[in-house]
Amino acid sequence: MRLRVESEAVSARTRSSLLGLAIALALADSSVVTLALPDILRRFDVSITTVSWVLVAYNLVLAAAAVPAAHVSRHRPVAVCGVGLCVFSVASLVCGLAPSFEVLLGGRCVQALGGAMVVASALDLLSGLCDSEERAAHVWARAGILGAALGPAAGGVLTQALGWESIFFVQAPLALAPLVALRGLRAREVQRVRGERPHLFANVALLFGSAALSAALFLLVILLVNGWNMTPAAAGAVATVMPLAAIASSRVAGRIGSTAVRAAAGLILVAGGLAALGFLPHAGWQWTVPPQLLVGPGLGLTIGALTQQALHGRSSQAVHGGWTIASRHAGVVVGLLLLTPVFTAQLNHNKADAKRAGTAILLDSRVPPLDKLHVAQDVLRTIDHSNGRLPDVSSAFTGRLTGPNGPEYRRIAAGLQDQLERAITDAFSWPFLLASGFALAGLVVVGVGRRQVTL
């Protein structure tokens, strides 16, 4: 893409940074509301499966609209980017003010449409602003990785500090800021596109890798907040380990070997990290840090390398960039749609196991027989009022921890809490292992396609 810069008031570097912000915003939205889902669920009184569509709808529309938006943006990238930013901003306001779940869902779909226009056109614009198309692709991919990885953490902090609506209210003006980057830019030449097919192996591997990474982000924050009762802000801080590791590693390993080697190494790290999350030996955020230190670098290596592979030698960066966005977000949708029911089924199964184990602890305890039933009723009431989060059973023992039976009640309370923590932590095990399988499937695709592309 050739650009004519009619005004030097804004430097190319500033323009690139602002476009990076636009890309990061649009792609952060694929995961930014993850930590807000429990609040949204309560606000609109919908089921877990229904509320997950706040994420699914955005990713689905983004995946579907990315390639058409890229084709349109080839002709008028500046206009498409500007319109996309405005659509994204207005839709963000609609989401924040949504009086019903249906309006929120509609707003998310329109937001995704704007996001697709922004992301597709931004690659074309960056190609005109950077030294080379490779450099533009690198900036574009990195902005996307940062946005997607930082999304949950940013959403968590905002949800806790100001409520879930604030995520959208903050986005609305932020999305308008990159309009400054478009001032004085004119597309000088419409790109001629050869009839190139998208890079099959890179895009399919991106799909599998993104399905795995959606699990890493989505399941991890749900585990931290709903599973282990962390505040959204604290969970966001813990989940920040992943993007930080991604940034650090991309500086070190981002140039080693071919794109296929980097993608393979990245997918191995993602698979290993997710498998470790599937075998957590105890409940506690600190156990998620080592796996994140594998998944983060894996994220940076995989997305960067596969995007580079998909764009290499293609005459239209925007169109093939559009294909990578479509593949990535289709992968997120596949991941969410496959993993959510597995997780829900496993959670229900484990709840029954925990109930049995807790009942055994109570029945075999040495508190007076009549008290056992009262304790059981109080514990069940606590569980029923837990709103889908890890119940704190100690509240069922209030007033019972003193007196001659106090030590026995303390033992029962600790035993029940332990069984609940085990049940919830283990419920995430299969989904994480399945996600690890997605990463390994991506590795197979990279292996099969290795002979197709060597850079």
Binding site: A276, F279, P369, K372, H374
Partner: protein, 154 residues
């Protein structure tokens, strides 16, 4: 070794090391504890008073019935304590009403035998309880069990 091979080797080694370490630390067994097999006899504790004796008989009855029905003692206790009648429990587990009733009666007999052998109850009371178990209508048997221990009725 080329840098490409080194990168892949480091990725494989780091991944394997972490997974093996987590498994070694108990990653495959961090799940809710399995409940005891109801068919395996439990040791009879020395009870303190009538309430505890009756509680042990009720729990032992639950063990015996659960063993016959191939369910856990906890499932049976939770269902009956939750107010379900026996027919509801039987339907939920694909059993006939007769199977469920016979299992409860056999469970009581087993529990009374155990209590008698442990010296927790005398032979006269044991005979009486066995008669109750074998001849009274099931609704009354359940009411007696619930009322006797105070455990299931609240």
């Amino acid at each position: 070794m080329s840098r490409s091979v080194a990168l892949v080797t480091v990725a494989v080694a780091a991944s394997l090391a972490l997974v093996v370490a987590y498994v070694a630390l108990g990653g495959t067994s961090y799940k809710p504890a399995a409940v005891a097999d109801p068919c395996t006899p439990r040791s009879w504790r020395a009870p303190h008073g009538t309430a505890e004796t009756l509680e042990q008989i009720v729990l032992s009855t639950a063990d015996g019935a659960a063993c016959k029905l191939h369910v856990s003692r906890e499932d049976l206790v939770l269902a009956l304590a939750g107010g379900d009648d026996l027919s509801h429990f039987a339907r939920a587990h694909g059993l006939s009403q007769d199977d469920a009733e016979n299992a409860i009666r056999d469970g009581i007999v087993r529990a009374v035998d155990d209590a008698e052998q442990a010296g927790a109850i005398g032979s006269g009371l044991a005979d009486g309880l066995r008669t109750v178990a074998q001849h009274l209508p099931m609704s009354i048997v359940l009411a007696v069990l619930r009322g006797a221990s105070g455990l299931l009725s609240g």
